[in-house]
């Protein structure tokens, strides 16, 4: 909760009264508020007084260790820089030998209860808890052991995190940390913190390292407040008007040692990434690849005339010159990082194909059983062309349109392919004794095609290619509950005439029966791949079913209908039907080998079996841009020169956080450090102490960063704490 006002309650508690004192106050103006505070005298008095009693007791594996077996010293180390609290104590007795007891070297629960206070006013509290780390046993008639322990964080010190948080999940830093801890069965007491908008991949980071780095922008430090609860707290210096947590004068401390700031960087460069707002509309990126070289467009040297004669034109392909041979343009439309549309256009030198023969119906022509010669240019290789030479034209275009669902997973792709293509066309009706179809054209591939640009037909030229839609491919993905692809459907549409018996509908020049005179644009092939998934969504196999135009054939001419290309069938016309199905299974043999069974055929392969396609994460579509924050420290530059410190902090998500982190790092680096030895008191790392030493002029608030307590009971009780205090400049 933010502090909106501070108040100081003062009062005096009668010394004879050992009960808690109570202070009350109320805010008079503004909305009504009452302040209420309880002062527990024993907490204060157990650490102040000219003569105090101390002791500690140890509970190991839920068993109190008898005082006769317990040796000092009890030592304890705490710091704001680590979650780990380390402590140790001594034991003596044969039953604690490492041979006799595993409690002293295995992860055994341990509690240290401290007792302190003036005679007659003792207070007992749980000073440290956790688990045994190991022990150090010394030889002797009775073993003497120093048992080292740590707080519960040691149980999780080797945990590696495996978690992802997508961009824009709306989770705060606190919620993310709480989730990660809850996965490990740890309760948490963590403030909400800022919403973490970037994506997060923990990438096998160790738990405490990750939390320390992830919480740094919030200035979070970590500690266990009980056996199963982790708390994030801020360790910042309290400034006026807030009171400090304690005031230490020379009457409270044994010694103060001070060290000046040591060499500190003059320039902090903090590197991270920030999320870039991708809502700036569609971005279009065009990439153009030009291929240049020595090239001459091909010129047709000969021409076929309408009477079938070949005339040499007396021209030939010219001298090659350095020029553009082809151009490819890729136009990519993106929204954030999502590609919404891609067009690839190809340009080059091309001369469309032309027909060598043409059918004009009756009267029947002079060629073969009624064809006429078409006019065409002939390339040096004999190919029939519609023009005298190659010209600069568009040669291809592929348009890809993906479709995404709400999570950003690509669920389908629609691909249109444009190129110079022909459309099959029959030259005669079935049973016609002459080419009966008007303006069908026969190419040099001995197939008949539709004629384009009918304006040229009067000149006898039949262009059988046109730049246009040649093929459409639709690929659809279906995903299962586990996120893996369960089915892929691949559909191909093209210009296709179903085949039929030669006596039924139409005939191509090649003699093949056609169900339609001109091939329509239609769905010609569908391949459905069903993935067989294991329980953990890995690929166990596939069933691939292919559907297309086909009909059951009969050998040779035994079928009722002859199809004109050596095949026959009892079916008159091809229909769209299932043609083929193939089952593939994958069996893992060992780590490096798997077995692939295709329709029962066995094949041993190296590596791992293929994996299914998986649903995408939404955050893969967001853009992160590098972020660099610079903090100059002119004072450090003047004192020690200009050293630069580069901090990689990937969890900083904007400039404000970056500057705060750099400032805090600088504050910790440029400070006077006091090492104070004093009797144990209630101050803990993270608190603020006003340190007073008139001898050296110290009268500053300092942040307590480390604490080391030593409780020695014999030969003389000596209970001292060594605090490290940082006084920022």
């Amino acid at each position: 909760m933010p502090i909106v006002a501070t108040a100081r309650l003062r009062g005096r508690v009668a010394p004879a009264d050992l009960g808690p004192g109570t202070l009350r106050g109320s805010v008079v103006s503004g909305s009504t508020a009452t302040l209420f505070a309880t002062v527990a005298r024993d907490v204060v008095e157990s650490f102040s007084g000219p003569s105090l009693c101390y002791t500690f007791a140890v509970k190991l594996h839920d068993e109190w260790i008898p005082r006769t077996e317990l040796l000092g010293p009890f030592e304890l180390d705490e710091s704001i820089d680590t979650v780990a609290v380390l402590f140790s104590f001594g034991l003596s007795g044969r039953r604690w030998s490492i041979e006799a007891s595993s409690w002293v070297w295995s992860r055994t629960p341990v509690e240290i209860w401290a007792t302190a206070g003036p005679a007659g006013g003792l207070r007992t509290w749980l000073r440290a808890f956790g688990y045994v780390l190991t022990c150090d046993q010394q030889e002797g008639p009775e073993p003497v052991l120093k048992v080292s322990c740590g707080d519960p964080s040691i149980l999780y010190a080797r945990e590696q995190l495996c978690a992802e948080v997508p961009t824009g999940a709306g989770l705060s830093r606190g919620a993310i940390c709480a989730d990660l801890l809850a996965d490990l069965g740890i309760d948490s007491d963590i403030p909400a913190g800022a919403i973490y908008a970037k994506s997060l991949v923990t990438d096998s980071a160790r738990l405490w390292d990750f939390l320390a780095a992830f919480g740094e922008p919030e200035d979070w430090h970590w500690r266990f407040i009980d056996d199963a609860t982790v708390q994030a707290y801020t360790a910042t210096l309290r400034v006026a008007p807030e009171p400090s947590d304690d005031i230490w004068s020379l009457a409270d401390v044994v010694s103060i040692q001070s060290a000046p700031p040591s060499e500190s960087p003059a320039r902090y460069v903090l590197r991270s990434t920030e999320l870039v707002d991708g809502a700036g509309g569609v971005k279009i990126e065009i990439t153009r690849i030009e291929v240049k070289g020595l090239f001459a467009p091909v010129v047709a040297p000969n021409k076929q005339n309408s009477d079938g004669s070949i005339t040499s034109l007396g021209v030939s392909t010219g001298i090659e010159v350095f020029r553009t041979i082809s151009v490819q343009e890729v136009e990519k439309h993106t929204l954030g990082t999502t590609v919404v549309y891609t067009v690839t256009r190809d340009f080059g030198w091309y001369n469309p194909r032309a027909a060598k023969l043409r059918s004009l119906g009756l009267p029947a022509g002079p060629v073969e059983d009624g064809y006429y010669y078409a006019v065409a240019w002939l390339d040096p290789d004999g190919t029939y062309r519609a023009g005298p030479q190659q010209t600069w034209v568009q040669t291809g275009e592929i348009r890809v349109t993906p479709t995404y669902d709400g999570d950003g997973t690509e669920i389908s792709t629609h691909t249109e392919t444009y190129r110079w293509r022909g459309i099959p066309m029959a030259t005669r009706a079935a049973l016609s004794d002459h080419p009966s179809v008007l303006n069908a054209a026969v190419g040099d591939d001995d197939l008949s095609w539709q004629t384009f640009n009918l304006a040229l037909v009067s000149a006898g030229i039949h262009r059988i290619e046109e730049f246009g839609l040649a093929q459409v491919d639709d690929v659809t993905h279906e995903f299962g509950a586990a996120g893996a692809e369960v089915r892929q459907i691949e559909e191909t549409s093209t210009w296709y005439a179903a085949r039929s018996g030669v006596t039924i509908n139409w005939l191509n020049y090649s003699g093949q029966g056609m169900a339609e005179m001109v091939a329509p644009f239609r769905l010609t092939r569908r391949v459905t791949t069903d993935n067989l998934l294991t329980a953990d969504a890995l690929l166990a196999g596939t069933i691939e079913t292919q559907t297309g135009f086909g009909a059951p054939h009969r050998l040779g001419t035994l079928g009722v209908y002859d199809w004109g290309d050596g095949a026959s069938s009892n079916q008159a016309t091809e229909t769209f039907q299932a043609l083929h199905s193939q089952i593939t299974t994958y069996n893992v043999v060992d780590e490096q080998t798997y077995e692939k069974l295709v329709d029962g055929r066995r094949e041993l392969l190296n590596g791992r079996p293929p994996r299914p396609r998986f649903r995408a994460s939404t955050w893969t579509q967001t853009v992160q841009a590098p972020l660099e924050v610079l903090l100059e420290d002119p004072a450090a530059a003047a004192w020690w020169g200009g050293e630069t410190l580069v901090i990689d902090q990937p969890y900083v998500q904007n400039r404000t956080e970056g500057e705060a982190v750099a400032r805090r790092r600088r504050k910790r680096a440029v400070r006077i450090q006091h090492t104070v030895v004093r009797p144990v008191c209630q101050v803990r790392p993270g608190q603020t102490v006003l340190l007073l030493d008139p001898r050296s002029g110290i009268a500053h608030r300092c942040l307590v960063v480390t604490l080391k307590e030593t409780w020695t009971l014999a030969p003389r009780p000596q209970i001292l704490a060594t605090y490290t205090l940082e006084q920022p400049l």
Binding site: P50, S51, R67, A119, G120, L122, V254, R716, P717
Partner: protein, 225 residues
């Protein structure tokens, strides 16, 4: 003071493991009291005292005793003394001297613990000294009158409860109880004659024979845990 320290002037020699060391002359009877206290000097010049916290019901200050009995000649007692030291401790030693203990009341505890069993409960002093002179004297506050002493066997002690102004001491045990808990901070003071459980000190090694007649023996005993 409303009572004399009752053992002063009473000639009762020490008793070791039931043997009255009677009729032999000790050069000295030295008692060293050890208390675990630490002091630390603060930077301002003052000192803080650091003690071991007592367990609940235990006296505020627990001192540990080291006794040196330096005999020039054990005489007839030599065989009996050596026989006792032929075995390891703990040896039971009564010096027949009062030791003073203090407790602080906390308004809830009426029963307190003694660190030792009491010598008069288990032994009869030598030389015909009157046993009642060695009985505990227990009172509240420095100048309070001694409470009426009632010594009970364990079963009676457990079953009953003291009347107002009484203090019950467990005979042969280490407990005493009052009728009601002393107020918080009230001082309970007891003078008792303890029966120490001791072990032989590590320093008890040398023996110096000055002549063939005398049997010198320096006995150094430490209170055992």
């Amino acid at each position: 003071m409303s009572f004399a320290l009752l053992t002063s002037g009473v000639p009762a020699p020490p008793t070791l493991d039931g043997l009255h060391l009677n009729g032999i002359a000790a050069d000295s009877l030295e008692v060293i009291e050890r208390e675990l206290v630490g002091t630390i000097a603060l930077a301002a010049g003052g000192t803080r005292e650091q003690r071991l916290a007592p367990d609940p019901g235990q006296p505020v200050i627990r001192r540990w005793y080291q006794v040196t009995l330096d005999y020039r000649h054990l005489a007839d007692l030599a065989p009996a003394v050596e026989a006792r030291f032929a075995f390891p401790g703990p040896h039971l030693l009564a010096l027949w001297k009062h030791v003073c203990l203090g407790w602080l009341g906390d308004a809830s505890r009426a029963e307190f613990a003694l660190p030792w069993r009491l010598a008069p409960h288990l032994l009869t002093p030598a030389g015909g000294a009157p046993p009642e002179r060695f009985a505990p004297v227990i009172r509240l506050e420095f100048d309070g009158d001694p409470l009426t002493l009632v010594e009970r066997d364990t079963s009676d002690y457990n079953a009953g409860s003291p009347a107002v102004g009484e203090v019950w001491v467990e005979r042969g045990g280490q407990r005493l109880k009052l009728e009601s808990p002393p107020a918080a901070g009230a001082r309970l003071i007891a003078h008792v004659v303890p029966l120490f459980r001791c072990v032989v000190a590590a320093e008890d090694v040398a023996r110096q024979y000055r002549d063939p007649v005398r049997e010198p023996r320096k006995i150094v005993l430490l209170e055992a845990a």
